[in-house]
């Protein structure tokens, strides 16, 4: 298909709309002070906390998201469609709403909070709360991309595996997961990126304390109050990390598309 010229024009406007704010931000960076700004104790603590919690959240996304995607893609039960929509809800939910919902679930007076308290687990204002908030918003990314990949790959290889005597667990381990591994990886990378950017739910649910709950986005939000230079510098760091992650996701995502084409 030859793309009409006016489509290029529209696409150009769209691209500028996305890119210009980034350029504008880069222009505001105080380069002379850049390194000291991003290497301050608070900044480093926020960055490390962000990386640590996002990694933990990604791990949880994989542990629970892969089974969720399998159940959604490979089984058929009453109410499945509704369940899928609900599971994907955090994608469209404003993060603050997510935070409020989590508060009423894991908070001290929440649905499960008292049970946790009895078990001696305190979630409120802890790093755990940050990880929970990040997992909540990031999980749908993994489930969505993996479910699509599972449907594309289809279940024919799994059927062959079963007739060769492989138990369902063996089929999952030796056939299904290797086949959708690229999708698991790209889904995990997307989840990590989403977790890294998580702000609203964390602010509402986990609080904000340096080294414990104040992730990079929260630190940026706070620094903006008094020290716009630091806020801009940290924003740039976050953008760079995000760009690296997104390009990684694209690279790992490609083989799965190639394979999908070969199958069809």
């Amino acid at each position: 298909m030859t793309v009409p010229r006016w489509v290029f024009a529209m696409a150009g406007i769209g691209a500028a709309f996305v890119l210009l704010p980034l350029v504008a931000m880069v222009l505001r960076v105080n380069w002379a002070e850049f390194v000291p700004l991003i290497s301050s104790e608070a900044s480093v603590a926020a960055l490390l906390l962000s990386l640590r919690t996002s990694l933990a959240a990604t791990l949880l996304c994989v542990i629970f998201g892969v089974p969720m995607a399998l159940v959604l893609a490979r089984t058929d039960f009453w109410g499945q469609k509704v369940l899928r929509s609900l599971v994907l809800l955090p994608l469209v939910l404003p993060p603050v709403v997510g935070g409020i919902a989590l508060l009423y679930t894991f908070g001290r007076r929440g649905l499960l909070g008292q049970t946790f308290e009895l078990l001696g687990i305190e979630i409120a204002f802890s790093t755990t709360a940050v990880v929970i908030a990040q997992t909540f918003v990031a999980l749908p990314f993994l489930v969505l991309s993996l479910e699509g990949a599972l449907r594309t790959v289809g279940s024919r290889y799994e059927a062959v595996g079963a007739t060769l005597g492989a138990s369902p667990t063996t089929v999952l381990r030796r056939i299904t997961l290797p086949l959708v591994l690229p999708a698991v990886l790209s889904g995990a990378v997307l989840s990590f990126a989403r977790a890294l950017g998580e702000f609203g739910a964390t602010l509402t649910f986990a609080g904000s304390l340096q080294g414990t709950t104040r992730t990079l986005p929260l630190e940026i939000y706070l620094q903006r109050e008094t020290d716009p230079d630091t806020a801009v510098a940290l924003s740039l760091v976050l953008v760079v990390v995000a760009v690296i992650i997104v390009s990684l996701a694209h690279r790992t995502g490609e083989p799965s598309r190639r394979r999908a084409r070969a199958l069809s």
Binding site: W6, L103, R109, A124, F125, S208, E225, D227
Partner: protein, 260 residues
Amino acid sequence: MARVTRGLAIVLGITLALTGCATPAAGSPTGSAVTLQGDITVYAAASLQATFTDLAASFETDHPGTTVVLNFAGSSALVTQIIEGAPADVFASADTANMTRLTDASLTDGSPVDFATNVLAIAVPPGNPAGITDLADLAGPDVRLVVCAPEVPCGRAATALAATAGVTLTPVSEESSVTDVLGKVTSGEADAGLVYVTDVAAAGAAVEGIEFAESAGAVNTYPIVPVTGSASADVARAFVDYVTGGTGAAVLGAAGFGAP
């Protein structure tokens, strides 16, 4: 191509209309000083939301032909926006530090006038589950205290207060705004929060307020000033006078603010 361009223009037009981006008729001073006429935009600290909403309404009633548009946010964010060129006619800050930033930027029309003070109070969930009675209780090891971060005015006040009172506070969270502190208290996540006495009043039954003697050690002063370059400078000046005058004092006092 021409048709496409026209189509684009229509799409953009509809978008602008839907988003209300179309430039409104700017407040036009009539040149006549007899009656006040024009629109002003007031940037006010978030803690002024309730009082300024009342004051703006009664100001409009007193001066038909004027419109007061209010924009509430953290003082620091507001100053940043004004310095970046946001169209504010009046700025009311929750502290002098942020007002100084505006003065330093030469964006104030005349000297800022202090119009209210505010002191900190302890907010606890209804029923006060942790049994807090005074400032010293907040330092207890099992008390989950939430304060504002030192980067924002209420946090600065809390830090100053703790220093003067000789109390070491170990908060579980340092929030970016009073709203976030109150949120943690009303939901019962925190045992206590340090916020302004006016915030406690505004929160109503959702929290209980505990005032304490040491609060006099950190009094927050609220200054107000017209911003330079206003298209309705006379209205802006009149609004500042209104807030600093008798009506303003009455409304602010009712909400828990102190006199300057």
